[in-house]
Symmetry: C2
Subunit: 401 residues, 2 copies
């Protein structure tokens, strides 16, 4: 009798316990304890999804769907490197939990947006918008709107499109106004009442911007003329000055197949390496005087010009029809030392934290390619759905990313 | 009957289930899911413990004990920012899990050690030892010994004490030999068979070293003479050259109360800020020519000279009897703009990832002090047991840390 009860009890126990334990294990299994310093996000542009990847083990961990139009998407990370904020072309900000692989929040904040940034203390997310043009500030935790800052109007009377948004130290952001030829610096110390300092007539049609790795300089590339516009935040009274003016003057510009991108990772050693618009060359500027010191001929129109974390080499990808190739420039000699052909439509590159590898996205081959930077040989490929941007969490602790 | 069996079953179930559920909850409670990008470790030197802290919420999370002699301890982090490797003075390496707050591995690898580093790919831990002098390499995961590299002998015939160990790109480490006047560069590409390149007669008694933020330069401070020794890893054929020679020549050196420390974070803007040994001043060198361009008078003998992540200001703490004070130098004007008195025996400083705050350890007041870098005012204090070094996980993705 007692035996029978016990046996029944055991069966009951097993029947009830099994799913509970499964649930407990599933909770653990779906969100294992792990550090977040070597995670990353890969944009899958056509499917509105992101892959979460691990750059130590070079593997995909999960796919998160439902992020909308990611045809021109960028990503920043929370201060604790747990969450990715994905800025979609459709104006939405999606907050993705890298540990649980869940879309935890999503805000539709504009109808056309080009990216965003996170403040130096990690508390404020800023979005740069095309339509309506301006910058919006959000609480990084809740994504509640904190402030809406319209941009100055362009010739058509509408608020300008905003480009090149980058975080600076002291909870500030710098950005450029494509339609109004301005660089603005926004102080988000009081994020519900931000202060904006405007610098006008900085050059025609700034199309993107970069902050230097220490957040001192902000540089806007100009689409409407040769040259770039430089703002030194340590000497803001001096305003914005023109640098590298006339780099293409006297030569016929080629049709531009894809706008190049600027970001802070293009500064290597004592030089800034910058894509020349419409030319098959990379411009090299001294990063003190900002005078042009050289051009490096490359095989096509550069899109991303990115220095390895050690600054010893600079990697370049290209616009159509050369977008199946990547070139590697040796910084001391300023020579191309290698041309790689890693896949069709190489759209982006991302280095591991201290540069032992670089990940490339090959949109048309639906793959990611991991290259060993010591040997320049391919280490691994991973499947991905039309991948574009690749973003690793080391960005969380850097400025201008 | 059926009811009775069920009731017994339920009781059995509850009796067995309760501790299981508690266990499951405890596992979750003791190791919550969280990002690791804003964590840190504080050395509690007298008690052989570390505190795990959260620099976003400015709070202590846990204490881990049993780490041995931490009277001169340093810390590096795993690539995923989950584990801290604590190098104790007693020659032990302790691997601490920041998520579970557990000491997961401990290796006694020398009888007297002064710190360590982690390779650029995160796979190899290197320890720099005083006794026996040399460098040992360990697998970052298991802490299994991979290689033991004895240092060249000093005048007493024993292997030299090793100082200044720093990681360089390409799985290399640079370090200096205090007793043998050497700088060595170790290539750990094959960590069981490392290759060492030796540079001899680099100057008398190198006492510490730093790598620049991009891992290009390694600089050793010299205790036996005025000046520092510079190695440019991009031009290793050129060997090591002397810089800032004679900065104190012709003046009487003061007794040295505490050896200063060098680390890569002292490079701000276009300049390196370095502690002068035995002098009440900070040396300023141009980081291209490495010529001395200025000295900044300070109130005592500098120990740590650390640039804010934005490079706009440099913070300095001091040897006894001025170790209750901290001075802040404005980089463009090279003037001390503030003297703080945050507590007794300020032993270390650590900036948050993008520099919105700095944490100070006050050993004799058993506290940590968090200062807002925008206002230079105190934001919070936290209790700690005779704290010394403070190390945040953003170091995981940086070189020369």
């Amino acid at each position: 009798m007692a035996g029978s009860t016990l046996a029944t009890g055991r069966r009951t126990l097993t029947r009830l316990l099994a799913p509970l334990l499964c649930l407990a294990l599933a909770a653990c299994a779906s969100a294992p304890l792990r550090g977040t310093g070597d995670l990353g996000v890969v944009i899958e542009r056509a499917s509105g999804s992101v892959q979460i990847v691990d750059n130590s083990h070079e593997q995909a961990l999960a796919r998160v769907q439902g992020l909308g139009d990611l045809s021109h998407a960028s990503v920043v990370f929370s201060r604790d490197a747990r969450y990715a904020y994905v800025f979609g072309r459709d104006g939405a900000i999606s907050k993705v939990d890298l540990l649980t692989a869940r879309l935890v929040k999503r805000v539709e904040q504009a109808s056309n947006s080009i990216g965003g940034a996170i403040s130096s203390d990690g508390r404020v997310i800023a979005a740069q918008n095309y339509s309506p043009g301006g910058v919006k500030l959000f609480d990084a935790d809740s994504l509640a709107l904190l402030a809406s800052v319209p941009a100055a109007a362009g010739p058509n009377g509408q608020p300008s499109r905003v480009v090149g948004l980058a975080d600076l130290p002291g909870k500030r952001f710098a950005y450029a106004l494509f339609d109004a030829d301005e660089i603005d610096v926004l102080d988000a110390s009081t994020p519900t009442a931000p202060k904006v300092q405007r610098f006008q007539h900085i050059g025609k049609q700034p199309y993107d911007g970069l902050a230097s790795g220490d957040g001192r300089y902000f540089i806007a590339g100009l689409y409407g003329e040769d040259g770039l516009a430089l703002f030194d935040s340590w000497h803001s009274d001096a305003g914005v000055r023109r640098i590298l003016a006339g780099y293409g003057r006297g030569r016929q510009a080629l049709p531009v197949y894809k706008m190049p991108h600027l970001r802070g990772w293009s500064i290597a050693g004592d030089y800034a390496f910058l894509p020349a618009i419409g030319q098959h060359e990379v411009l090299v500027a001294d990063n003190r005087s900002w005078a042009q010191v050289a051009t490096v001929p490359v095989l096509g129109q550069p899109v991303f010009v990115m220095a390895e974390p050690g600054g010893r080499r600079v990697w370049v990808n290209f616009a159509f029809p050369d977008n199946d190739k990547v070139q590697v420039i040796d910084v001391p000699t300023r020579q191309v030392i290698k041309t790689l052909q890693p896949g069709r439509a190489i759209l982006h590159m991302e280095f591991t934290p201290r540069g032992d590898a670089v990940w490339l996205s090959s949109r048309d081959d639906n793959k990611l390619v991991v290259i060993d930077t010591a040997t320049l040989s391919q280490r691994r490929t991973l499947p991905a759905l039309e991948p574009s941007g690749i973003f690793f969490t080391w960005r969380a602790s850097r400025m201008g990313m």
